[in-house]
Amino acid sequence: MPRLVFEKTGDSVWISHLDTMRVFQRAFRRAGVMLKHSQGFTPRAIVSIALPLSVGVESRCELLDYELEQEATLTADMLNAVLPEGMRVLSIVENGRKIKELTHLRAHLTLTYDHGITDEQLQQLQALYHRESLVLEKHSRKGKTETDILPMLCEMTMEKKDNTTVGMDVLVCAQNPSLNPQLLINAIEIYAPELMPDAVKIRRMEVYDTEGQVFR
């Protein structure tokens, strides 16, 4: 199935997962390309996005699978001319790999401390992720479960960019099980509330397979 790689930046990060699919369904029509539709009472254009992105999170590596009704030329430019601000198609992959082979996600987190952060506090923050375990409560349909998030945090580097900003680069498990990078922030709130930043920006950077190869 063909797949496109797109980014979501700026104010488009506030568009939800479901709305993002709707945006693409319309954008294909505006680009003059018909998507294949589902059968049934209310036919729907078939598109699917690999890993749902939380509202407010930026991404450079979103994957959207689609099927065209008939063979047609589709270029990134055609879609980019009709997408809302902040959404941009980076490339089109003729035949995407099986989604289940996508296993890891690299993300960048920017933590802002309005009143500054000391080196000592930075060390404390780092230490938080080097504990034996970081257990968080997860709310799912089945109810509350407790999960240790650290086994799903594969790599992490942290650096102070200036007095008020800390940058965190992380590699996390993306599927079965997966770690939403936001949970790394939730852990601060629970285990070290005094280190809770005033604002956080999360950005998805890239997705990989088990071999560490870029996944497409």
């Binding site: 700026g10 104010d11 488009s12 506030w14 568009i15 939800s16 479901l18 709305d19 709707r22 945006v23 369904q25 319309r26 954008a27 294909f28 029509r29 505006r30 003059g32 018909m34 539709h37 009472f41 209310t42 036919p43 254009a45 509202v55 407010g56 009709v82 997408l83 809302p84 601000e85 902040g86 005033d198 604002a199």
Partner: protein
Amino acid sequence: MNERLQRILPKVQKPARYVGGEYGQIVKNKEDVRLRVAFCFPDTYEIGMSNVGMRILYGVMNEMDGVWCERVFAPWGDMEEEMTKAGIPLYALESQDPVKDFDMVAFTIGYEMSYTNILNMLRLADMPLYAKDRPDLKGIVFAGGVCAVNPEPLADFIDFFCVGEGEEMTVEILSLYDKAKAEGWSKERFLRQVATIGGVYVPALYEHHYGEDGKLTAIEPLDGAPKTVTKRIIKDLDKAYYPTDTIVPSTEIVHDRTNLEVFRGCIRGCRFCQAGFCYRPVRPRNADTLYQQAVESLETSGNHEITLASLSTSDYKQLEPLADKLIDYCEAKKINLSLPSLRADNFSRELMLKVQRVRKSGLTFAPEAGTQRLRDAINKNVTEEEILTTCATAFSGGWNNVKLYFMLGLPTETDEDVLGIAELVWKIIKTWKDTATNKKRGLSINLATAFFVPKPFTPFQWEAQITPEEYMRRVHLLQDALHSKAVDYRYHGSDLSYLEAVLARGDRRLGKVLARAMELGARLDGWDEYFNNDIWMQAFKECGMDPAFYAQRAYGQEEVLPWQTIDVGVRQEFLWQERQQAYLSKVTPDCRVKCSACGANCLEGGVKCDA
């Protein structure tokens, strides 16, 4: 500003509605812009972006050289709270600049219960509520929309109103402002000048006098202001601006589709219907124009749904050729075509089946009254036989779902009329049993009753509304007479419709009540989550005003009506005559059968009414 906004957005529901950036929004270079308009819709983004009028005028203003019009919507409660905490004033979506920095602030008002949103938006914009407290030309506040036919309750807050259709008037007003700004006019000079534009009403130029009994006794135009302000209309809709390249919201809105306005006006004359009289005369768009506009709008928006909009789509003379062409196009493109506002009387099986090829939509009837006697009194020309025949056609075609809308509290209504609703419902159930081809799914009837609100410029404008208690008694009378599980009965709240009646026929003394209610926290009153009747009752009490004076009192034939400065083209004598007919339960034939000489064809120095 943007950084502060970014921080609060994670805390609110549906943040996409607060950032703009949608496909099709208009962004201009500020250096090329002489005049900036903040176009405010006094309700949420989802409601406002569904409004065709707003989309038209957004396009009209942005087509003007040197003008940049941006959109502003009312924030939901969570967003309002976060904005206030973060010190973010109300802003426009395109530039995210504060509303108070704009030259002109425009409102479009379609619903009385959004009045507090207007005041709340001015407050959130850090602008003085009262027009008299805004001395400058900059930040002038004006408003249009159907509620402008009785603008009096808002007279203290809005500098001027636009009565009627805005496509041409708006351009004239903005051009005058452009000149006034360049020449450094005072606000007062501008207001006097703008009042000479047809359809513009400047409330400060009129003094209202009251008698000892509290009734309005005289309206005195000051400084040579015109005695009446006549509604503007577009003579030829085929030549009027229509936005085919319009904004496509990035988040779901209420009417998430292309809206094709097939004609304006209505030939029917239902006596309770404000739109039916205020949008006269009938002016259609040509089917070829419409087809072109439909294709263009669908292609530029990427919408997969289109609807034909008007007050009564069945009455569009070229409906069949238009529908045929659209059905073919939509079927090929997998686009869903919906035809609301079809009448039971000429809802042909053929058209129903044709549309079904694209998608089976719901079946909705608005008989409004339960007996033929009352339907005649309100001039709702639909018979029980027509409803049952259409239902039979639909049920045998596989439909199993019917929506029915009625009103309670209509003038001359008796218990027999109320029980007549239950009887009609029972007959529909029986028809389903006799004709349904697909009984497995069962029948579902959604029955809803609204509380009748007398509106200005209708034959019922003089009528008293029944009390909320009496309305609830009739609701329960009906409820007890419904026995089938197939019926899901819902009714409008009595308090909200009571207030709607107060504001619809109110005068400018209600301004202080509105301001007080807003201060006490009234906003988003059209939403169940927010409407709080106690706040309103407290506001009336503190202001020493009695809401019953406006809602539950019949206005006399000779009484000075608060809205009589406005002329919508339909003569008051005609409305009174229609009222008399109602009391005789006599119907007036529709305008196609016989012209009733309502007067609307005299607008704009004479216009063809294409009933």
